[in-house]
């Protein structure tokens, strides 16, 4: 039999192509592992991570954050107000790392792409992206005592406060 297509030259080409693809995948961790950049330092974690998960800025566009930080005295019914220097510093971090900045990674762009340009949504959990990513999580799971609400990212994404939402770091509590 004559396997014309399987000579050593073709095999070498194939091996090189597979190697190159593997290399390319290994070099793109940010887009593959669902990692969102987080503000440096402890201020964001302390001020915006005390009542809930410190949500990654890349989960909403800058206009959403601007609107939110203009109304912190009535933040979803609670007083989340900050002194002015802290408010400005946090706003700057949020704007720099938001979903619609030029440096945004693939996921952030997808999030931003699904939000109409004239809208400034205040909830991450109501975005099309969030619903799509969680459509396999059944309703009764959200109601477990340790979870309670979809906004409780940290209950399942154990490293959410570091902006890490990768599949390998998901632990759904009982």
């Amino acid at each position: 039999m004559d396997h014309a297509g399987l000579n050593w030259k073709n095999l070498l080409t194939l091996a090189l192509a597979v190697g190159a693809t593997a290399f390319a995948i290994a070099r793109a961790p940010a887009d593959d592992e669902a990692i969102f950049p987080m503000p440096a330092g402890k201020t964001y974690l302390n001020e915006c991570g005390s009542c809930h998960t410190a949500f990654a800025p890349g989960l909403l566009p800058a206009r959403s954050w601007r609107k939110m930080l203009a109304g912190l005295t009535d933040h979803f019914g609670e007083d989340a107000s900050l002194d002015e220097p802290q408010r400005l510093a946090i706003l700057k971090d949020l704007e720099t790392l938001a979903a619609d900045t030029p440096q945004a990674n693939l996921r952030m762009r997808r999030i931003n792409g699904a939000i109409p340009g004239n809208a400034a949504p205040q909830r991450i959990t109501e975005s099309g992206y969030f619903k799509f990513m969680h459509d396999e999580v059944p309703r009764h799971i959200w109601q477990r005592k340790k979870i309670g609400t979809p906004g409780n990212c940290l209950a399942c994404h154990t490293r959410a406060n570091e902006g890490r939402y990768g599949e390998r770091e998901v632990r759904i509590p009982q």
């Binding site: 009542c51 809930h52 998960t53 979803f76 019914g77 609670e78 007083d79 340790k146 979870i147 309670g148 609400t149 906004g151 409780n152 940290l154 209950a155």
Partner: protein, 128 residues
């Protein structure tokens, strides 16, 4: 002016310095008068009808100051309030002040008095 300089330097240094729960209590007692841990415990457990999102401190902090709590709305886990169980509690005066302001307003729909803050702090320190 000159003799006040060391005092000024001390004030400038204060916000950077972590304090002990006892120092924070002393500062509150200096404003309010003697503190009572028993009254503090009453405040911690009292049910209020004025609250917006919660009807007691225990709604988020549970009725055991040594146990982790859970925020009634966001369901986030909250570290225990008693310094014996969570050593950074009552060590940052600005943080203590900020949460008294928010949480008293949340539960009682008013600010807590210096006396209430002193009593509450004394109770948390007394939990062993």
């Amino acid at each position: 002016m000159k003799r006040y300089l060391p005092l000024l330097a001390l004030f400038a240094a204060l916000p950077l310095q972590a304090e002990t729960p006892q120092q924070i209590l002393d500062a509150l007692v200096a404003q309010a008068g003697p503190a009572s841990a028993a009254r503090g415990e009453q405040l911690f457990r009292a049910k209020s009808t004025a609250g917006k999102t919660a009807d007691a401190c225990t709604s988020c902090h549970t009725d055991n100051p040594k146990a982790p709590g859970q925020h009634v709305k966001t369901h986030k886990t909250i570290d225990p309030l008693a310094p014996v169980a969570q050593k950074d509690r009552f060590t940052d005066p600005a943080k203590v002040e900020k949460w008294f302001k928010r949480n008293c307003n949340e539960v009682l729909a008013r600010a807590c008095t210096a006396q209430e803050k002193a009593d509450f702090t004394a109770y948390m320190i007394s939990v062993k």
